[in-house]
Symmetry: C2
DNA sequence: GCCCCCATGTAAAATGTTACATGATTAG
DNA sequence: CTAATCATGTAACATTTTACATGGGGGC
């Protein structure tokens, strides 16, 4: 069986946040690392079952409806081994860029809509992540945990800023295209 | 049947590049838009069959082993309709950020390796895309086609620069962590 | 009483990659 | 002759999302 990342996200969150249920795991993932990772129940529950069978996690007695899991020593070993491997090159897939690339089949109007949408979403994202960073600094998390949380948040902010600024530039080029044609637009990119 | 993006990539490339075979399509996608999209043969060939059945593309007589497809008027209509819809919010999934987030279970050494790897890959990417941009400007592509090609390349460069600069900053924070502990590292992030 | 949140799980469908099978043509 | 590239396609597998089914508890 090939290694799927879901395995290690679950192990990592259980290591970082202590024992929790499948439902809790989903909430944790959505909240703390939601801006660069996601998992659905359809993956979480079957995977928890499998990890239990493999001995990497163990389930406490299901008291009420809840069934909290904790990471085992074997699970920690597996997590550490995964963490130490260089990540695979990431495959980017952007529907926005695809549409913009086919921009010559689009009216100027539509291209503009595409780009203002992207710029605004990036702006919202920046605000959101900056708030998250402030909250983190003010919160009770300390030491290395805080440091690494801030580092990944910063990466999100940096990426969103680059996106917003690029969209603004591209928007100017589209304006120039409308006013002065392709050559004017190309000149505006310099 | 839900709309899969593969459909429209194929339609778009046929509209942009003229009639071509499944093999050509793959090459075109890898080359021109490979930095933000990819398709495998396993998706391309079945999809070409389906699109033919739907009347969105048509196959010329298979002369030698080749079977070139062209987009039909119905295909152009479908493409335009898709282009005009705002793209779905993109789901980012970064294994690197995941590993870094769990950085407190990592040695400083490993965190550094992760980040130098990311920084160097981003650097390579910048060089590659800058070359691509230069080649585009020097090539025979003109007008809107050139403009939109450059716009999407620029977005790749902007994203890669943001990544490289962030990784360099994060690396300094990890150095500070080793020298002066978490508080020194946090201070270095200001 | 009803709606929302908590909580677990399964099933089906969609999407995507990798491996395999086959054969022609071309460059060294 | 041999390796690479061109070319088509299928099958198996892996991954991921969405929809469904079920039920408890708390607030209004």
């Amino acid at each position: 069986m090939r290694e799927k990342t879901t395995t290690f996200v679950l192990l990592g969150v259980l290591a970082a946040g202590g024992p929790m249920t499948g439902y809790d795991l989903r909430g944790w993932i959505n909240g703390a690392i939601g801006h660069f990772w996601s998992e659905s129940f359809g993956q979480i529950y079957p995977e928890l079952k499998r990890l239990t069978a493999e001995g990497l996690i163990s389930a406490a007695a299901a008291a009420d409806g809840r069934k909290p899991y904790r990471i085992t020593p074997a699970g920690r070993t597996a997590l550490t081994a995964w963490l130490e491997r260089q990540p695979q090159a990431e495959t980017v897939r952007s529907e926005l860029l695809l549409k913009l690339y086919f921009g010559r089949f689009l009216g100027t109007e539509t291209a503009r809509d595409l780009l203002t949408g992207a710029r605004d979403r990036a702006g919202d994202r920046i605000a959101e992540l900056e708030t998250a960073a402030t909250d983190l600094r003010r919160g009770e998390t300390r030491g290395e945990e805080l440091l690494f949380s801030l580092l990944v948040t910063d990466r999100g902010i940096a990426a969103a800023r680059a996106e917003r600024d690029w969209a603004a530039r591209a928007l100017k080029a589209v304006d120039a295209l409308e006013d002065g044609g392709p050559d004017a637009a190309l000149a505006s990119l310099r």
